[in-house]
């Protein structure tokens, strides 16, 4: 068994010389089938196989990865990681610590609700083709149409010096549609998708006809939309925008490494009021079947629901073993790595604002004659300064509590420490995975992209800065 190999490589070391060591074997296979404007685009099978080793010696980390299943090469990588850590510890005041009290045993195999293996290549191809065909045939102004089916299954086997022995699978399946509409120099892009970690059920249950048709309509309608107004104003955000908003505004700033490294405006803010009492923020990878759901993280820690903000107060951070130890915080299984070439760091899973009690009509009245923003493209943040950016694919002007003219794509900015305090109202609806996305974050081993979701209810907020022409 591969885990036996990992365990063997760990157990061979001299424990008096190494604070902590883990070995993570990794296997991943992806299938991507994409159709563009009626023709096959990418028809790809990609595999990743390798081993990641981290060593902590006198407060300094060494990391080595090797694309090999050969025991001697894995041992070489382990020894290289230890050597790097030792060498660094001799010349640096690095002071990392990892608790030795956390050891976990477990096995989580991918047990799909509906196994992708039950579906032929042709059946999967047909899903992508159906999305794309509906988009392309919707209207001549749609000049580009994409349908993409992707599936990824990975297995990590983790052994560490604490005694952790965990085998854990993760799967990500997704069916997406992208469309570009054009009239003269006006170009608009829209997208929609269904994503799951549970199996094919959510994919085959997704009403392709309805979603692709609506997507095509959005693309065409945006050509007649007006430009968004610009400046600070009250806004109503749909759950997709709320998902990105909370991910960027708060999620990254609550990641333990940013907190620990004084790179977050939320450092030393536990217990402080961050939002109106109606706002609570959760990150929960235990929710079944969502894109950001997983059972064990890449350190073999069982994951759990974590509350970041409760009734407006900052109550928790997102931790891996290092940050939990050094912040003296709960170990909550947030240590994720993109693949074997990358090291572990705190990352989000499924981040959302809990639902409130306001109807959408009430929220529209609250914001006055302003804007309603829908369907996010994504965003980014500087956690150290707390400035973040997020964007919408479209929306509407709001006049006297009613939806008015549609508006085109726009970008918005805000400040982490202000934005949730500027919440006017929290909707009573709920769409936790309204934005199934991919989160990027820089690391020692380069940028790491991971599947996540974001969502919540509709939120009305004031003083959101919109950039228009």
């Amino acid at each position: 068994m591969v885990l036996d190999v990992a365990r063997k490589v760990v157990d061979e070391i001299d424990r008096t010389q190494v604070q902590f060591l883990d070995v993570r074997t990794y296997r991943n296979e992806t299938l991507q089938l994409s159709v563009r404007k009626g023709d096959a685009n990418q028809i790809a099978n990609n595999q990743m196989n390798g081993v990641a080793i981290r060593a902590l010696v006198n407060g300094a980390w060494g990391f080595a990865s090797v694309a090999s299943e050969n025991l001697s090469e894995i041992r070489e990588a382990r020894d290289a990681a230890i050597k790097m850590a030792r060498g660094l510890s001799n010349k640096s005041e690095a002071n990392a610590e990892v608790t030795q009290d956390a050891a976990f045993e477990g096995r989580n195999e991918f047990t799909p609700d509906d196994d992708p293996k039950n579906y032929s290549f042709e059946e999967k191809m047909e899903l992508a083709q159906k999305v794309e065909t509906i988009l392309r045939e919707h209207d001549p102004s749609i000049i580009n149409s994409n349908g993409i089916y992707s599936e990824m299954v990975q297995r990590e086997e983790i052994a560490n010096t604490n005694g952790t022995n965990v085998v854990t699978d993760y799967a990500a399946l997704r069916l997406s549609g992208f469309a570009t509409s054009r009239r003269g120099d006006i170009i608009q892009n829209v997208s929609d998708s269904i994503a799951t970690s549970g199996g094919m059920k959510a994919i085959v249950d997704w009403n392709i006809e309805e979603h692709a048709t609506n997507l095509g309509k959005r693309a065409v309608d945006l050509l007649d939309a007006v430009n968004s107004p610009s400046g600070k104003m009250n806004v109503l955000l749909d759950p997709s925008i709320v998902g990105v908003y909370i991910h960027e505004a708060f999620g990254h700033a609550s990641e333990g490494d940013a907190v620990l490294d004084n790179r977050s405006v939320l450092t030393n803010q536990l217990g402080n009021t961050m939002a109106i009492p109606e706002v609570s923020v959760i990150d929960d990878p235990t929710l079944p079947g969502l894109r950001g759901s997983f059972k064990y993280d890449s350190e073999g820690t069982p994951t759990k629901r974590r509350q970041i903000i409760k009734d407006g107060v900052l109550v928790g951070y997102l931790n891996d073993l290092r940050t939990a130890t050094m912040l003296d915080q709960e170990i909550n299984g947030c240590g994720r790595a993109m693949d074997f070439r990358h090291t572990v760091m705190p990352r989000m899973g499924n981040t959302y604002i809990e639902q409130g009690d306001k109807k959408i009509e009430e929220l529209l009245e609250e914001i006055g004659n302003r804007v309603y923003l829908q369907y996010s493209y994504g965003g980014y943040v500087n956690p150290a300064t707390g400035e973040f950016f997020f964007s919408s694919q479209g929306g509407y002007l709001v006049e006297d509590g009613q939806l008015g003219k549609p508006i085109r794509n726009s970008g918005m900015s805000g400040m982490t420490l202000d934005v949730l305090k500027n919440t006017i109202g929290v909707g009573n609806d709920k769409d936790i995975d309204a934005f199934p996305g991919t989160c990027g974050k820089p690391s020692l081993t380069g940028p790491q992209m991971l599947p996540v979701t974001g969502g919540g209810p509709h939120i009305a907020a004031k003083d959101i800065n919109i950039g228009g022409r």
Partner: protein
């Protein structure tokens, strides 16, 4: 598949032979055209967190990528394992997928080998980078940390990274392309913060990119520059919404044009009709003084390369001539579809997949404006030290000012925060009022500073005005 001859007596693996063997196997299995990329390489880095060197790493970058065509049906496969068994498996999978795949009616052919040979571009491989010792990394890290320590109010937090990569790509295809390209690269970024209080945090970023380590480079100065930049953004304030002239410094100009022009000339986007520059060859899109060239042959240029991701020899490409759009950036697929020259801009993330088009490194001609004067002449405006891009793939620009300053009476007053900037790509390019005669030449690129007549700046709004009064309907 690999034979004893694939390993020399010293145990060194002959990746070129592995690539050729994989090509033959694909043909045997029924592929009509095939491309194999075998990459061997690794990356090493150290990381600075919270003003300490916290970690060191070495990372495999190796793998094999296959594109197999049967007629116009494509199958793609890749694996990070480079072994006989894994490559055989990957080739079999690629060919199997090609048999199953629907057609791509746009595909004509992979690139042929041409008469021209790849240019020798000096300083793209540095043996010293390849053989850097761990202590050298740590020494550089400590230089960065020490150099970052500047006098300032608040708490300085140093963060950053030094990373080096050593890569050899073997690119072969069934039409005779057979290229081995070895290159090194090193980059260092420093991202420093100065915390006065949670509502007043300065942030500064500095970067150093190179293919060959210059012994004279002062890593301490990189840290110092990042800290000085962080100081400059302390006390950042919001400003009122209004239309203002905007001066982009050299780097901000380069970043903005790389993004705006890069997306516009991207052959894939042009082919799809999604580019805002589609069908605009011969149109005057920028001011007369705007001349933009893409030059991948600069000695030691960070994005310099003798061949693109398909093994086609690269060339210098002019995109804008006196403001007139004259070329797109193509690869074999888009060039065939568009019926124009393949000017070798195929790019991939890593070693696998179908290449898209991308630009290499822009050279923008100098103008005749004085950079100092351009700032001094601003009665009121914005000075940008960060770039912008069009948003959502459209022609609209709706971007956050990541690093910008409010200017009044020719002097920088303060950094701005939570401020957006808006326009569209055509107004941006046509609104260039002045181009500096001073160029910043670094990392293989060359850019002037540019002054834009007017852009929409969004910040504090007068609460008495309706948003509709600010709209560009």
């Amino acid at each position: 598949m690999s034979t004893d001859s694939d390993e020399t007596k010293q145990g060194h693996i002959d990746y070129h032979s592995i690539a050729l063997n994989a090509l033959n196997l694909a043909e045997e299995l029924g592929a009509t055209q095939t491309e194999i990329v075998v990459r061997q390489g690794h990356r090493r880095a150290i990381e600075i967190r919270n003003s300490l060197i916290s970690g060191s790493q070495q990372q495999s970058m190796s793998g094999v990528g296959i594109r197999a065509y049967i007629g116009n049906k494509l199958g793609i496969s890749s694996n990070t394992l480079v072994s006989e068994a894994s490559i055989t498996d990957a080739v079999e999978k690629a060919v199997k997928l090609a048999k199953l795949a629907p057609e791509d009616r746009n595909f004509r052919t992979l690139p042929n080998v041409l008469e021209q040979s790849a240019p020798h571009i000096p300083d793209l491989y540095d043996g010293e980078i390849a053989n850097m010792e761990a202590d050298q990394f740590i020494d550089i890290g400590n230089q960065i940390i020490d150099g970052s320590k500047v006098e300032t109010e608040g708490k300085l937090v140093v963060g950053g990274q030094l990373s080096v990569s050593i890569i050899t790509d073997n690119i072969v295809n069934s039409l005779g392309i057979d290229v081995e390209d070895s290159y090194t690269s090193a980059f260092s970024f420093v991202n420093n913060s100065i915390i006065v209080d949670p509502t007043n945090v300065g942030s500064g970023f500095e970067v150093y990119l190179t293919r060959k380590l210059d012994k004279g480079v002062d890593f301490g100065d990189i840290g110092r520059t990042a800290s000085e930049k962080a100081k400059k953004t302390l006390g950042a304030r919001e400003i009122k919404t209004k239309r203002l002239p905007v001066l982009f410094d050299h780097r901000a100009t380069g970043q903005s044009l790389q993004a705006i022009v890069g997306n516009g000339v991207n052959g894939t986007n042009v082919m799809l009709g999604t580019s805002y520059f589609a069908d605009k060859i011969g149109n005057e899109l920028g001011v007369e003084g705007l001349n933009i060239t893409d030059n991948p042959h600069v000695a030691g240029g960070f994005s310099s390369t003798p061949v693109d991701a398909e093994g086609v020899v690269t060339q210098v490409t002019k995109y804008m001539d006196k403001g007139v759009l004259v070329n797109y950036a193509t690869n074999s697929y888009t060039a065939n579809k568009l019926g124009i020259e393949n000017n070798a801009h195929a790019q991939k993330m890593g070693f696998s997949g179908k290449p898209r088009c991308g630009i290499w490194q822009l050279h923008v001609d100098a103008g005749d404006g004085s950079y100092t004067q351009m700032l001094e002449d601003m009665r009121e405006g914005i000075f940008m030290e960060s770039g912008i891009n069009a948003s959502g793939g459209s022609q609209n620009i709706s971007a956050k000012i990541n690093r910008g300053f409010y200017v009044k009476d020719g002097e920088i007053q303060h950094a701005v925060k939570n401020t957006m900037i808006g326009s569209d790509v055509f107004s941006f390019l046509k609104g260039i009022n002045r181009i500096s005669k001073e160029l910043r030449i670094e990392f293989g690129s060359q850019t002037p500073a540019i002054l834009i007549d007017e852009m929409s700046i969004s910040g504090i709004t007068d609460t008495k005005s309706s948003p509709r009064s600010m709209m560009g309907i």
